[in-house]
């Protein structure tokens, strides 16, 4: 009753007021999210011409006639709001950010588009989303951001890019990497050089109709990064500072300790002598010999009893044995607490003719492993100005200088190298100390400095470790003494002239340039390791990448009544040049100087240039009626220098339609439905990014070549490298995308469900040739494959109270990958652990079939291959097996592709406080755990062993399902087989962000418009099926000795001045 009265009173009041002639309304517009005043908000009286703009303090003043009953507030990036006016002349309004609003403008191929008009599949990430992440490389921020985007767990090396796949795997022997576009042109710099703080939005084009305008390069999806520009009339200064700390994010595998290790090795030696030696020994003789041999083979004895007595003939550690020293954790001296400092200052502003954005950034990210860091200076100037009413121009210029030290790991091609700290520290047996000790267990000190020597095989009193324990090497010492650094400088420029003419036409020539200079600097010291044999080694390379994109786009936009049409036509020219020079020298003169001049002997030098060019014509037509029906189509013709003259031109196209059903009359009245739209699109895009076996681009894939450089003495020599394949052409990808998007209950529940079918034709396979052939692989367009998937993004505002909100966004992706065509002459293609065949996916495992353990001798049993000779068969309990893996049957063994992938993001906000966390997960799929396989191998003396080895078969433990540990049989007992597959399901707490907007009351005192403090955690927890395993390390399910991803924690502050 009280409410009714109130309303009545208001109504009367309004009616009374309407009689007045004119009045002034004033107020302040703020963001509901953080209560910061919003400058530049357009304030408009509904039904009249009166307009105002808020000032830098968010205040406005609008003079309106008495007939005006409502005022509309609109601002880019925020939901527009129409507020009825009351008698009060003060109207303060809060605008809510509208990242999910359909009115959003999204950056798409060659332009921007209202989100509602998109007929394809585009996901976008805003600066607001990026703010929550403290990642050194922006690729990591795509993780979990939208369905259909698979991002690998980042390598822990600071600054490293994460692998990205969009909607499955579009290619086999060509690149699967999405195209990166920066501010309108294909970006040839390193994505690690883009400052996250400069990024306004990232759009991910997932289907063919969105990416068709990128023609021959669009097949793997496109990631469009758009940098910031000045938006508000009031110049703003933004200062952002964060300080972070990092540690190892994935635990180590469970390995044996020193006391467990000696007996385990004893057992494996005894098993060798009893079962795989020739001649074999009796149990007793083997036990006695093993007790002696265990020390002679392990060489080191850190116990206080003689080496031959460490393990008794009973296989147990001598009860009197205790450790003389404990210096076996090789990670400890290599690890440190990583530090990350990120400081940015930017200014931005906009007048009616010119806008600008200027930023400076500094980032230093030191990893949790010695000598791994990344330091970057960034600067950007983005200026756009309207010279005449019909002429506009702009320049977006950015530069970055990066300076990094790189840890050697599998991602740098050093998977099992002695300088890889991870493989070394993981793989060395737990009885080998980091520092030097003598047989009595006393430290061996350098007589000059008094410091204890590192144990590196050349120090006084050195003893060589056995081959499994990296003899003669010491990764701690080598990491300290060696250098593996790069310096990169990057300059990117994007400039355009926009000419408007004949009212509806715009002509925009654009020139974009990326220039990158990359210096690699490696030094191997003369004391220990690879440089020791040549008295020091120095390698240096300099690579320059230059690329230009030059395009001219003519566009026509016209709205006639409810009809809106836009047409775009253009020409584009792409020019890419890569030049590298490298050299190395040996024989160092004076210590401390690692420049070439300080080395005596020139050892080798090399140089090369690569060119890649594309010539294109493109066009697009869009039409919409009443914002209800949208159709568009695009066409692009590309000529690529990567193919022969006969094959190089290709035409790519797309067509799509969207129907905004909610706008139909029959749904207009359904109040609980806010939005419902259907869309469908179809298109064809290409992939010209042919790769060689090492993952490098192949620019000349169609011809037969000999490699230069195989010189013999003073005579030049060449070796056949490839054979001619003149018919090689692009892969073509035809994608059907359909989707429905919806919002219910006042946008409390919203989402989008999409189905796609990506059909790849002329799929290029690097067809393995017999080892007896001239080349071991030939590239041919022989296959076809599809990726079909369903993606769902479902969001909800679970709680939407004035002071407290809880929002949840979930992403779900499933897809199936299947090969649909391979030619009759090569119906199957087997490489590594996978086999490709019609009806199977590209990551289907093809492995030898492990069948358990023979209880009689602990041999690993395998299912026999068809046609295995009886001599090679072993019958156990009436079943036929083989024990030599070479005769084991191969079979399909599941896939590396998970059944379901997804993420969910929870965001809570209470008053000024906001907390969000993101969880990534995957269900199903299998990982091939080769690291575990290595740790279960007793193939060489001195290597670390996994705890599971303790449960392996022994005569006393003959029901074990782990074959016997045996130094003479590991090739068969531990062979590559389906035994090493493990469920790849995991979940990971990827990101947590807590932020607090400092109250206005405090800030006013120090004249700061807004300030936010925040705390962020990245990669806080990973749960996988085996401790140490990171199932999101690779797409093909294999793992290697990589820099484990780091767990980061940061504190930061963001000030707007």
């Amino acid at each position: 009753m009280k409410k009714l009265l109130q309303s009545l009173f208001v109504l009367l009041f309004v009616a009374f007021n309407a009689m007045a002639q004119e009045r002034t309304i004033t107020g302040i517009v703020t963001s509901t999210e953080d209560n910061i005043p919003l400058p530049g908000v357009s304030v408009k009286a509904v039904g009249s011409q009166a307009v105002a703009i808020t000032g830098g303090d968010g205040k406005y003043s609008l003079r309106i006639s008495s007939s005006v009953t409502a005022i509309q507030f609109s601002y880019i990036g925020f939901s527009s709001k129409t507020v009825s006016i009351t008698s009060s002349s003060i109207l303060n309004v809060g605008l809510a950010p509208d990242s999910k609003s359909l009115a959003d403008v999204v950056v798409v191929a060659y332009g921007t588009q209202k989100k509602e008009s998109i007929t394809g599949s585009v996901s976008s990430i805003s600066a607001k989303d990026l703010e929550k992440r403290t990642v050194t490389n922006i690729t990591a921020s795509l993780q979990g951001s939208a369905p259909g985007i698979s991002v690998l767990a980042s390598n822990g090396q600071p600054g490293n890019s994460s692998g990205i796949r969009i909607r499955g795997f579009g290619s086999y022997s060509s690149s699967n990497n999405p195209l990166i576009v920066l501010d309108g042109a294909v970006y040839d710099g390193n994505i690690g050089d883009i400052n996250q703080n400069d990024v306004e939005s990232i759009s991910v084009l997932k289907d063919a109709s969105s990416s068709a305008l990128y023609g021959s390069r669009g097949a793997n999806g496109v990631i469009i990064v758009t940098t910031k520009r000045g938006k508000s009339a009031e110049p703003a200064i933004n200062v952002n500072f964060s300080q972070g700390w990092s540690t190892r994010g994935i635990p180590e595998y469970e390995r044996l300790d020193a006391a467990q290790y000696y007996p385990a090795v004893w057992q494996a030696i005894k098993n060798n002598l009893m079962f795989s030696a020739s001649p074999v020994l009796s149990d007793a003789a083997a036990a006695t010999k093993a007790s002696a041999d265990v020390f002679t083979n392990l060489v080191y004895n850190p116990f206080n009893v003689p080496g031959g007595q460490v393990v008794g003939t009973d296989g147990k550690l001598n009860p009197n044995a205790s450790l003389l020293y404990d210096d076996f954790n090789w990670y400890a001296p290599l690890e440190r607490t990583g530090k990350r400092t990120d400081a940015n200052v930017s200014t931005a502003g906009k007048s009616d003719k010119t806008d600008y954005f200027v930023s400076l950034g500094y980032l230093k990210d030191s990893g949790f492993i010695l000598k791994s860091d990344f330091e970057r200076f960034n600067a950007r100037v983005n200026v756009n100005t309207k010279l005449r009413s019909w002429l506009k121009t702009g320049l977006n210029l950015s530069g970055a200088m990066s300076d990094a030290n790189t840890a050697s790991d599998a991602s740098t091609g050093n998977g099992s190298s002695f300088v890889n700290p991870f493989s070394f520290a993981r793989g060395i047996g737990p009885i080998y100390p980091v520092h030097a000790f003598n047989a009595a267990g006393e430290p061996i000190a350098n007589s000059l400095t008094g410091e204890q020597w590192y144990d590196y095989g050349i120090h006084p009193g050195a003893v060589n470790r056995p081959s499994g324990a990296s003899p003669g090497r010491n990764v701690v010492y080598e990491t300290m003494l060696n250098d593996n650094a790069y310096k990169r400088s990057q300059l990117s420029a994007r400039s355009y002239i926009e000419v408007k003419f004949l009212k509806d036409f715009t002509f925009t020539p654009t020139i974009s340039m990326d220039l990158r200079n990359n210096n690699v600097d490696q030094f191997q010291n003369p004391i220990v390791g690879d440089g020791a044999g040549s008295n020091g080694y120095k390698f240096q390379s300099n690579a320059v990448t230059k690329s230009y994109t030059f395009n001219q786009i003519l566009s026509y936009n016209k709205t006639i009544g409810k009809h809106a049409i836009s047409v775009l036509a253009g020409h584009e020219n792409y020019y890419f040049k890569y030049r590298i020079f490298q050299a190395d020298r040996t024989n160092m003169v004076a210590r401390g100087n690692t420049e070439f001049a300080n080395f005596v002997t020139s050892s080798s030098s090399y140089g090369r240039e690569d060119n890649d060019r594309i010539e294109s014509y493109l066009s697009k037509v869009s039409y919409s009626y009443d914002d209800k029906y949208f159709i568009d189509g695009s066409l692009r013709r590309d000529g690529s220098s990567r193919f022969s003259a006969e094959q190089r031109w290709g035409t790519f196209f797309s067509a799509g339609a969207t129907w905004a059903i909610k706008k139909e009359n029959f749904l207009k009245e359904v109040s609980w439905l806010d939005d419902l739209r259907l869309k469908v699109s179809y298109g064809q895009v290409g992939n010209n990014a042919l790769l060689d076996g090492n993952g490098n681009n192949r620019y000349y894939g169609d011809r037969a070549f000999f490699d230069l450089g195989s010189n013999s003495n003073t005579e030049g020599g060449v070796l056949l490298a490839s054979i001619a394949t003149p018919n090689l052409t692009w892969e073509k990808q035809n994608t059907l995308n359909t989707g429905v998007s919806f919002a219910f209950f006042g946008r409390r529940l919203y989402g989008e469900l999409e189905y796609y079918n990506k059909q790849v034709d002329d799929l290029i396979f690097s067809v393995p040739q017999p080892l007896s052939a001239a080349v071991t692989s030939v590239y041919r367009n022989i296959g076809a494959m599809y990726n079909r998937g369903v993606e769902l993004q479902l969001g909800g505002d679970i709680i939407r109270e004035q002071n407290f909100t809880w929002g949840l966004i979930t992403n779900w992706s499933i897809f199936k990958n299947k090969i649909t065509k391979l030619p009759a002459e090569t119906p199957t293609i087997i490489s590594g652990t996978k086999k490709r065949e019609v009806g199977h996916g590209i990551y289907d495992y093809w492995l030898r079939q492990y069948a358990g353990v023979d209880p009689n001798d602990g041999a690993a049993l395998y299912i026999p291959a068809d046609g295995t000779l009886p001599a090679n068969i072993r019958t156990v309990n009436g079943v036929q097996y083989v024990t030599n893996q070479s005769f084991a049957k191969f079979d399909y063994s599941g896939t590396a592709i998970p059944d379901l992938m997804g993420s969910f993001v929870n965001t809570f906000s209470y008053k000024n406080l906001s907390l969000s966390f993101m969880v990534n997960y995957q269900v199903g799929g299998k990982a091939y755990d080769s690291i575990y396989q290595g740790l279960m191998s007793t193939g060489s003396y001195g290597g670390a062993l996994h705890q599971d080895i303790l449960n392996s078969w022994t005569p006393a433990n003959n029901t074990s399902n782990i074959p016997r540990a045996d130094f003479g049989a590991t090739a068969n007992t531990n062979a590559t087989s389906n035994r090493w597959l493990i469920d790849a399901s995991y979940w990971s707490l990827r990101n947590v962000n807590l932020s607090y907007n400092l109250p206005k009351a405090w800030l006013n005192k120090i004249k700061v418009p807004s300030a936010r403090v925040f705390a962020t955690g990245e990669n806080l927890y990973l749960h996988s099926k085996r401790k140490g395993l990171n199932p999101s390390e690779s797409f093909d399910g294999l793992n290697s000795n990589v820099y484990p991803q780091s767990r980061n924690f940061s504190l930061g502050i963001n000030l707007t001045l």
């Binding site: 003519l554 070549f705 003495n713 003073t714 080892l771």
Partner: protein, 506 residues
């Protein structure tokens, strides 16, 4: 409208320059097109030189332990470690990496197996390109140059097949002709891609045919000893004949080389200089890397030279079978190549970090300590010809000639030696002991065991200083055992439909 016209012409003007056809023509700068290679004998020579360089370069076939796989040299070392006369005290390269423990031959995915197979086939295929293209009308150059290139290509091809057939086929048995057991695919032209396994007989027939053709081309001019001239072809022909138990031809061709006098035996002084130099008189065929082509770790000398400064050589000196050593006469210069009781005085080493072990070798030395383990890997020495000659005489019952042939070698090695008077098996045994001592480390022992159908015996009675754990205690293999037979690599089976699982070796 005028504005539109201006702009349209602007658009056209901007598009036009990009349309030039050659804009899209690019080519690599670190490769040379096939068509350019076979335009002249000078260019074609680069293919032959490329093969020689490849024979002395660490493998790229496999990433596993590639530095222990320096081209053909690594294979020669590997197969010597498969015998009993060359060994080391620890399970490391060449012992636990698949060779000494016989895991590589019996594992179809083993890196060393792949490396052996691919190394020789890559040589064969590059040689095939020369043979296919050198006579094309577009190739300029002297006919004599074409003959030379052809002869070298044929010799290289025969050399490669001679190893492949011995690894992947069971032994050639002259008493069981034709040897119908499966050998290896015979890839003979650049168009051959998928070939089935030919029989051992067919492979040998091809090897002999290639060598006879090469010998007929009589190529005698060469830039350096890396090139396989007619003398190398003859030497190889003798070696192959010996393997085929074709003693008349072994005698004929070995004798041809010896009588040719081009490669006299080394002096006693030269003999102890480290077997690393093409200038040594009896080197018939060898690699000749320059410093730039050297490889500290991934080279033959990086694995075998006693003074190569690598962890492997510092920690694992190579030893000779002590029983074999003890049969070397006291005055024989060859005794100096090993040291039964090495000390700092009698066996100086570059640094204190080098390990000494009884019966360690100093046969191979790097040219200069510090230079990247440089040396000229020998592929053929004339001493082998004396041994072939002696053995072939002895095995064909011509003991007197055998005694002389052996003495021609022994008298140079041991200035006090007297001609043996042994006959029959005893004579053969003496020749074989000389062969084992003389060719130690050069890649013969495994092939001899297989050729002669002998067992492998590393037990204490035969090799007192053998360290069993270095090879996972694999001390004996009976004669003719399946372990002596390499399995065809899985990668070949996977991509070659003409070699089904049923055509795999047992």
């Amino acid at each position: 409208m005028k504005k539109l016209l201006i702009l349209t012409s602007l658009v056209v003007a901007l598009i036009a320059p990009g349309c030039k056809k050659e804009y899209l023509e690019t080519k690599p700068t670190d490769q040379i097109a096939l068509e350019e290679v076979f335009t002249s004998t000078t260019n074609a020579n680069a293919v032959i030189s490329g093969i020689y360089a490849y024979m002395n370069t660490r493998t790229t076939t496999t990433t596993s332990n590639a530095q222990g796989k320096p081209g053909v040299g690594g294979i020669l070392l590997g197969i010597d470690f498969m015998g009993e006369d060359l060994h080391q005290a620890a399970a490391t390269w060449f012992t636990s990496t698949g060779e000494g423990n016989y895991v590589a031959p019996r594992t179809d995915t083993h890196a060393s197996n792949l490396y052996y197979y691919r190394t020789f086939y890559r040589m064969i295929n590059n040689a095939n390109y020369v043979l296919d293209n050198i006579d094309l009308p577009g190739v300029t150059g002297l006919d004599s140059e074409k003959s030379r290139l052809k002869a070298e290509a044929l010799t290289i091809r025969a050399y490669a097949y001679s190893y492949l057939v011995q690894f992947y086929g069971t032994r050639y048995n002259a008493a069981a002709k034709p040897n119908a057991q499966l050998g290896v695919p015979l890839v003979l032209t650049s168009a051959d891609i998928i070939k089935p396994r030919a029989t051992v007989e067919e492979v040998y027939t091809q090897i002999v045919a290639d060598l006879d053709k090469a010998i007929a081309l009589n190529s005698t001019t060469k830039t350096n000893k890396t090139h396989a001239d007619v003398w190398v072809a003859r030497g190889l022909r003798a070696r192959v004949a010996l393997t085929m138990q074709d003693y008349p031809n072994a005698i004929k061709f070995a004798k041809d080389v010896i009588d040719g006098g081009k490669y006299p035996l080394m002096s006693q002084t030269d003999y102890v200089t480290g077997f690393n130099n093409n200038a040594l008189s009896e080197f018939m065929w060898c690699a000749m890397p320059t410093t730039e082509q050297g490889d500290t770790f991934g080279s033959f000398y990086g694995q075998i030279a006693y003074n190569a400064n690598t962890t492997y050589m510092r920690g694992t000196p190579k030893m000779i079978n002590s029983n074999l050593y003890n049969q070397i006469p006291v005055n024989d210069v060859r005794r100096k190549l090993w040291e039964p009781a090495p000390t700092a005085a009698n066996f100086p080493l570059p640094t204190a970090a080098f390990t000494r072990r009884a019966y360690m070798s100093r046969k191979f030395s790097v040219k200069t300590v510090g230079d990247p383990s440089l040396g000229d890997t020998p592929w053929m020495r004339s001493a082998e010809m004396y041994l072939i000659l002696a053995e072939a005489y002895a095995r064909s019952g011509q003991d007197a000639l055998a005694q002389t042939a052996l003495f021609d070698l022994v008298k140079v090695r041991d200035l006090t030696a007297v001609k043996t008077v042994k006959t029959g098996t005893a004579l053969i045994d003496e020749i074989m002991i000389n062969r084992r001592v003389e060719l130690w480390g050069e890649g013969f022992r495994y092939l001899d065991l297989k050729r002669l159908n002998l067992p492998l015996d590393r037990t204490a009675a035969n090799v007192p200083n053998y360290v069993g754990t270095s090879v996972a205690n694999l001390l004996t293999i009976p004669a003719g055992d399946v372990k002596f037979l390499f399995l065809i690599p899985r990668d070949e089976l996977n991509a070659n439909p003409l070699i089904p699982q049923s055509a795999q070796n047992p």
